[in-house]
């Protein structure tokens, strides 16, 4: 990729108290890509997302979003560049109705009433929120809460989406609904960074993966390269996907979708190589 990265993390160190939580992290994210951050609980995924959002500031090193050093601006100023979704959706719901919740961020941006209404109706349709529009978001199901938070981020049309475990606790249908909407924004040029332990989701939607281990990025690569590397996954305490294990045991090139792996297997069986 020749273009400039939209997120650039350079030699980043961070700690809350005495111990370093992130050590010498370097990472670049480009417009139009979905990057998954994977690693065990406590590996630093959420902290890294908060640093990119400007909610935390580097102790050492630098984070820039669209050329803007996050140290120079308050998180609220950065929010229209990089929008962050908390792991627990209730933390981000304030208004008494879904409609007001979504409008809130737009009002802060100082948009005209006409523009606010246009954006509102577009996102409501996209995420199928029509039926809950006048309800209190705090009393919705977990899936609907996630969708409302996502809607309130997306209407601001940020350059970077930072999502912390956006699909935890969602059923497969809602999970796909959420991911498809994010993916469509990525296709239109937004960058998305997603911290998750749902590796099936990563395999299905992410373009690239960065592996965090004890506060350092120890590997980055294409989704297939990383998730298909059974030894790497095990070495950082993650369970490889079943398909990656199958490919490894049958000595096939790692492929992460069932149909393609089946085809490769079928060819090999026909050549009587097993």
């Amino acid at each position: 990729m020749l273009e400039e990265p939209v997120v650039r993390v350079e030699n980043l160190w961070f700690r809350y108290e005495r111990e370093w939580v992130l050590r010498r992290v370097n990472l670049e994210v480009y417009s139009g890509e979905m990057l998954a951050l994977i690693g065990r609980n406590g590996s630093g995924k959420s902290t890294l997302l908060k640093l990119i959002a400007g909610l935390l500031k580097p102790v050492k090193g630098r984070v820039t979003v669209a050329g803007v050093d996050t140290k120079r601006f308050k998180a609220s100023k950065l929010a229209s560049l990089a929008s962050y979704m908390h792991q627990e959706p209730t933390q981000q719901l304030f208004a008494l109705s879904v409609r007001e919740e979504i409008r809130l961020g737009l009002k802060f941006m100082g948009l005209s009433e006409g523009e606010i209404e246009t954006r509102l109706s577009r996102i409501v349709r996209e995420l199928a929120l029509e039926e809950v529009l006048d309800l209190n978001p705090r009393f919705l199901s977990r899936g609907d809460k996630q969708k409302v938070v996502l809607a309130s981020l997306l209407v601001r049309e940020p350059k970077v989406l930072l999502l912390d475990e956006p699909t935890t606790g969602l059923d497969s249908k809602t999970c796909d609904e959420v991911m498809r909407v994010v993916k469509s924004r990525v296709r239109r040029g937004c960058a998305a960074v997603i911290a998750t332990h749902d590796l099936r989701n990563v395999a299905k939607y992410s373009d690239r993966v960065a592996v965090l281990h004890k506060g350092s990025v120890i590997a980055t690569g294409s989704t297939t390269e990383i998730l298909g590397n059974v030894d790497l996954m095990r070495s950082v305490g993650l369970s490889p996907l079943p398909l990656a294990l199958v490919a490894c045991k049958l000595d096939l090139r790692p492929v992460l979708d069932a149909a393609s792996l089946a085809e490769a297997t079928f060819k090999k069986v026909n050549c009587r190589e097993f």
Binding site: R40, R142, R200, L238, S239, V246, A262, T265
Partner: protein, 288 residues
């Protein structure tokens, strides 16, 4: 065979809900079974689980019709505390289920009160369980200062140490590291082999099918399908969107579609690898 759970024509709606959440559920779970309960959000899975320990209808009010018997006892007619000796349910929101001032006490008191251990025995047992779930270092912490994933581990440690006759785990592995989630499935299977009946609600079908004796699918307040995991997963393909088909099953069904004969529908990586090695493609004679 004796029944652990028997649900007869169960209907329920919450005081606040307009529609029935459970709409005539019939279910029998035998003692010693390991059952997976699957389905989309709002299918009624959590509501059903709340009837097993009597939370519904004793504590959560609404319109309740039908009968739920656990180990032969009608749960609507028995004291909740008596039920707690035999039945333990863990829900997704771990935070609201932790109430003591230290993690160790959280385990020690129930072990003394429900399992009848001495305080010394309970301490040893508590530490062992916390260690297995990788949270022994939190023993003296206030549970409210622990992270979401840690709280879930503490609760699961408690449940496994209590060794109830019926253990119900409702989406309580969703915030866990994959590795710890594997530990949970292994430990719950061991407990099951010692006689505990286990019911697990999860979206993680990949792991569930490896341990479950039976899988039950719920949708819109009804049980829509149930049976041996292999049977249900074969049909799950038709019930797209209700559950995530396990990757191994997806792969095996693709192999079949291409014409590769597999003797059974595999559920684990080991099974499918073994079957592929043995397989011969349809319509071709083996080379002599």
């Amino acid at each position: 065979m004796a029944l652990a759970v028997e649900v007869e024509d169960l209907w329920f709606k919450y005081q606040t809900s307009k529609e029935w959440v459970l709409r005539g559920v019939n279910l029998k779970v035998e003692k010693g079974e390991y059952v997976g309960l699957l389905g989309p959000a709002s299918a009624g899975k959590t509501t059903l689980c709340m009837t097993f320990n009597g939370l519904i209808p004793h504590y959560v009010k609404g319109v309740f019709r039908g009968v739920v018997r656990v180990f032969g006892v009608d749960t609507s007619k028995v004291d909740l505390v008596d039920l707690a000796k035999d039945v333990q349910v863990v829900f997704q929101e771990a935070a609201s289920q932790l109430i003591m001032s230290s993690v160790e006490e959280e385990l020690v008191y129930p072990l003394v009160n429900l399992r009848g251990l001495t305080v010394e025995e309970a301490r040893a047992e508590a530490l062992r369980a916390l260690r297995e779930l990788g949270v022994a270092h939190l023993a003296s912490r206030n549970p409210q200062t622990c992270s979401g994933g840690e709280k879930q581990r503490i609760l699961l440690a408690l449940m496994l140490a209590l060794k109830p006759k019926l253990l119900v785990v409702d989406e309580a592995t969703s915030d866990l590291d994959p590795e710890i989630s594997e530990v949970f499935y292994r430990l719950s299977k061991e407990l099951n082999e010692e006689g505990t009946t286990v019911i697990v609600v999860t979206q993680d079908t990949d792991r569930l099918v490896e341990v479950a004796d039976r899988v039950i699918l719920m949708e819109r307040g009804l049980i829509v399908n149930e049976g041996d995991p292999r049977e249900v997963m074969r049909r799950a393909q038709l019930l797209d969107g209700i559950v995530r088909t396990p990757q191994v099953v997806e792969y095996a069904l693709e192999l079949r579609r291409l014409g590769l004969e597999l003797e059974t529908l595999p559920l684990t990586v080991e099974e499918v690898v073994e079957l592929v090695r043995r397989a011969r493609s349809k319509g071709r004679e083996p080379v002599v």
